[in-house]
């Protein structure tokens, strides 16, 4: 090749390289900081994960995730194993917090915080009597009326009562004594039930302001014969409890009064002999779209295992009580929650801070989000 030609080729290559480098180095446009928010209405499969953070329990949070995209959408912050509930209109996530002015000591303030589910900011708050129950967070320690206008906060000092908050006026409406009874299971627009140590169900009816107008008590179970797990699951105004040995105790509150329904069993005689029984923190879930009940089960059951995790979930037809199949979790799980749509998913919190997902239309495990929280004790699904 002649020297002139070689020089021409070199020059052409240099120009091409310069051009491409210039394109790479073009300035990116200036940007401004944005602000995400969540859509409304929420996807029916959205999951609110209540994380009580055992290693730092004066904190805690609710992590919001999209199980389809396996993506975190945002979070709220809680204080000291705060009971949490989603309003039936899906607009507000409530948390009943307990703060000390110096972190672990100082002046105590109990406060109900109303988080907007779109902005994930506190919308308003109400200072509560300093009586809020402090337990490993129970599903029915905080409830919301069916029309989202009243919130019920369970108190334990250890005498028991319920603080009723009017969510329209943002004020405490009343304190309802529920001596000898625990928790508050929302019933319709103006009632809640409590489970009593003598085996009765107390039903308190309120007026529009949130003040008590009447109460009834109905025998429900014999506490000297069975241990009834207080962590029930509802389908409308019918709640399903289970004993620690798997006997299901349904109760209808239609009309505002407790009407216990016939009991049935999660386990056959043979399964009982094999040691099968329900266990977990929130061991029952219910998918209204499929009319199915799900129970976390383990074998080799003993009385001391009634809150233990498991990898086995059984599905039941709610109408017949017939066992339909088994879901197998790749990790031990502790708390169950089903979505409320027609093609539901089951969410189960595992013991490593993750959540496991199941497609309930196929009965198959459909994915997981590992270590999305520290201690995911309960989850909530949009109504």
């Amino acid at each position: 090749m002649r020297r002139v030609d070689r020089l021409s080729i070199s020059a052409a290559l240099a120009l091409a390289l310069a051009a491409s480098t210039s394109a790479v180095r073009a300035d990116l446009p200036a940007e401004e900081i944005g602000q995400n928010s969540l859509p409304f209405p929420p996807d029916p499969h959205r999951v609110y994960i209540l994380d009580v953070d055992f290693k730092n329990p004066i904190a805690g949070k609710v992590v919001v995730v999209d199980p389809k995209a396996k993506r975190m959408l945002g979070m709220t912050t809680n204080a000291f194993v705060a009971p949490t509930a989603l309003s039936p209109d899906n607009r507000t996530l409530y948390s009943a917090n307990l703060f000390y002015s110096r972190g672990t000591y100082g002046e105590r303030t109990d406060v109900l915080v109303a988080w907007d589910t779109q902005t994930l900011r506190p919308q308003w708050e109400v200072v509560l009597p300093t009586k809020r129950a402090s337990t490993l967070t129970e599903k029915y320690a905080l409830g919301v009326s069916a029309d989202s206008t009243l919130a019920y906060v369970f108190n334990l000092t250890p005498s028991t009562s319920v603080t009723v908050v009017n969510t329209q006026t943002h004020k405490v409406a009343s304190e309802v004594a529920i001596s000898g009874c625990v928790l508050n299971y929302p019933v319709g627009k103006r009632s809640f039930a409590s489970l009593c140590g003598d085996g009765q169900l107390l039903v308190v009816t309120l007026d529009d302001e949130g003040k008590e107008v009447s109460r009834t008590q109905t025998p429900f179970f014999d506490p000297n014969k069975v241990r009834l797990n207080e962590r029930a699951i509802a389908n409308g105004d019918t709640y399903y409890f289970t004993t620690t040995h798997g006997e299901v105790y349904p109760v209808s509150f239609e009309g505002g009064k407790a009407k216990p329904q016939p009991t049935w069993s999660l386990v056959s005689d043979q399964e009982r002999q094999q040691g099968w029984a329900p266990g977990g923190w929130q061991a029952l879930a219910l998918a209204p779209g499929l009319n199915r009940l799900y129970a976390l089960m383990h074998d080799q059951h003993t009385d001391g295992k009634w809150e233990d995790p498991s990898t086995t979930i059984w599905a039941f037809d709610l109408k017949t009580g017939k066992k339909l199949g088994t879901l197998d979790s790749p990790k031990p799980v502790w708390s169950l929650q089903a979505s409320h749509d027609q093609a539901p998913i089951l969410v189960a919190t595992d013991l490593e801070g993750g959540v496991q997902f199941f497609d309930l239309t196929t009965g198959k495990h459909s994915g997981a989000m590992d270590q999305i929280a520290d201690t995911p004790v309960l989850t909530f699904a949009p109504w």
């Binding site: 329990p57 307990l98 672990t104 129970e138 000092t157 383990h298 013991l351």
Partner: protein
Amino acid sequence: MSFLDKLFERSSRHVADTTSRRKVLARLGSLIVAGAALPVLLPIDRTAKALAAEQPKMGDPGDPTSCDYWRNCSIDGFLCSCCGGSITSCPPGTDASLVTWIGTCRNPADGKNYIISYNDCCGKHACGQCACSRNDDEQPLYRPFNNNDINWCLGAESKIYNCTVTIIRGVAV
């Protein structure tokens, strides 16, 4: 209280109970505890020795820093013996809650059932040492004084839970 270790200890116990060699050992330990009046056979966690605040006493056998110590039969929390306290006293700077839950535990040394109160020590963060969860006698929440999911710092100035002591209140009759 004692909900703090609920996930971790319960899970590790469950995994241990459902897997291989540890399952055999756990079952063996349970059988020994259930059937024995022989203190020397009690399962003892030797790795916890370095943390021990107390030595076993005559008639009160076992290692107070071990979850298998006989007084811990209904506990669900962090053992104060591992947190700067002892089986009967709270760690420095924490306050004892005088409202508590109780359990009944069998002392393998004399075969008697003792009423044990599980007072919580309160006012500081969770201790995080020697988590122990044994719920054989635990009752649902509607029987609160037999329930260990409640934070029993109810009777202390600060309700923030640190650890739990195990105090003999008398012989059960």
